[in-house]
Amino acid sequence: MKKQFLAELKKYLEPLNTSERDEIIRFYEERFETGLRYEGKTEEEIVDELESPKQIARNVLEEYGYRVRMVDAHEEVSNDIKVGSIIGLILFDIFLASFLVPVLFSIFVGVGSSLIAFIGAMLLLPFVEGTVNLPLVFFSLGFGFLWFLLVLWLWDVLIGFITWLLRWHLEVFRYSKTKDVVRSLRKLRFQSLLRRSPKLMRTRQTLSLISVLFIIGGLIGSVVQYGTFNFDQVNEPLVEETYQFEVADDDVLTIVADISFANTVVRRGNVTEIQVRTEFFETHPLNVDFSHGTVQLQLTQEDQSIRNWFRVGSLFSFLASTPSVEILVPESVDVKIIDLTMSSGRVTIDGFTAEEIRVHTLNGTVSLDRIQAPIIDVRTSNGRIELKDIVSEDITLRSSNGKLVLNNVKASEYDLSTSNGNIELSNLSTVNEPGSKLSATTSNGSLILEDVYIYDVRLRTSNGSINYTNTDLSFILDRLDAHTTNGSVTVNVPYQSS
């Protein structure tokens, strides 16, 4: 009787772990002993006194916090999937998860693939110029490794988030093996790999330390070797050179440049001759020619192999030394055309009356100041364009990635567009009053117009708000056409039709 009772109880207590189960069984063993020895009862009497093994097991398991499922079918507790939590789950999936997972993933891919690009650039480094910038190699190795750790960390974050998300889903639907799924997902994390292998952990720590030392060493080495933080591939300092060209007072000058990478400034100077100050790498010299016949200043560069995107130093451009050109034009000389084509670098043109100003650059900010020219044409693939105090007729500005800022500009036709960036216009007016036109388009950014007095205005943005206000409300536009696909339109100017 006793044995059978205890065996049955043991069976029903299966869900408990062994030690807890044995403890409970021991209570009942003792209970039998007490009854038999001290109270003189028979085993049958004791069993009668007690509840059934099933009932005991049920109470015990309940005390241990188990959902009791082992009972008869008709007592089976329904697995209560809550409607509320399912709705919460669906809403979360639609509005947040659908957005967060791809964002996290794309951050991971982005950082990871730029690491690959970085490593690629590092591998090419020694072969490009024949000589090696050793401090840069050390710096890049250290930096690359820390970057690599960042990528791994992002991976862990991604896996962690997905695990959390999945666990929540499975729990809502009361999937019984949730814990196993979570455990196997967690194993995918770099962290758990580290935890399992102390050797790897030590290696990582050592390499991190070495990386930091490499970075510091690279910085110090660069200063020692070059006198500055030189993070260009070119293993040489910049060479300064100044050119002077005589010109007659009534000459009309044309400036043409086709160069790779330089910060370029063209401005009026307190000089009697045209002065060109350059700072360039010796291996990539700049040719400065002046033709007296055509009165043309020509800057060319035969070897344009230093492209900005190829320079590791562009990551730390604030540290790197940058080639530069400064062209000073005497006050007495008129300018006809300024035409600059470059790969990258800042371009500043200040204080000219000319027929045409043209700047095409792949990468860099372009700013024009105090210019009078009927034609202004600025194109950049990556960088902002700023115009201030300008009188013109046709203004064409294009940027693939950067904002357009115009302040105090007069022209009859404005054609402005950027693929990514705001367009900010203030104090714009027109030279020949009727028929003046402005078209401003951005694919991603807001349009902010303040005191823009032009008759025909067309504003377009795919993603961003439009805000147009004028102080002088007596100015009535002939036509205003403002449209945004995603954002608000606030127009506080009178106009005739749209």
């Binding site: 409970i24 021991r26 209570f27 209970r31 509840e51 009932q55 015990v60 005390e63």
Partner: protein, 103 residues
């Protein structure tokens, strides 16, 4: 019939209270509580086990004159502290409930 749920809530307190007056074995604890509350054995034993796990109680084996040794329970300092805390909570609850329903 008293509600089982209601009684279960105070079982911990009763067990600690019983042991605060002296060491004893499981069946005895059950019997003394059962006399008053009429609770089933199978709820008492897991509670004792849990209290041992949480170090509110410790156990030792006590030889008995005519039979195998019994497992005795002894309340610990932590268990006593818990007991006093729970007792105060209980008294507060009784006052509050009385106040609520006797207005």
């Amino acid at each position: 019939m008293q509600s089982v749920q209601l009684k279960k809530g105070v079982l911990d307190l009763c067990v600690l209270g019983r042991l605060s007056t002296g060491d004893t074995y499981g069946y005895d604890i059950y019997q003394s509580i059962n006399k008053v509350l009429g609770i089933s054995e199978s709820t008492i034993y897991p509670i004792l086990r849990k209290m041992v796990n949480e170090v509110y109680l410790t156990t030792y084996l006590q030889e008995s004159p005519d039979g195998p040794p019994r497992k005795y329970f002894k309340i610990t300092k932590k268990g006593l502290e818990m007991y006093h805390k729970m007792y105060q909570e209980w008294q507060t609850l009784v006052r509050q409930v009385d106040y609520l329903i006797m207005r």
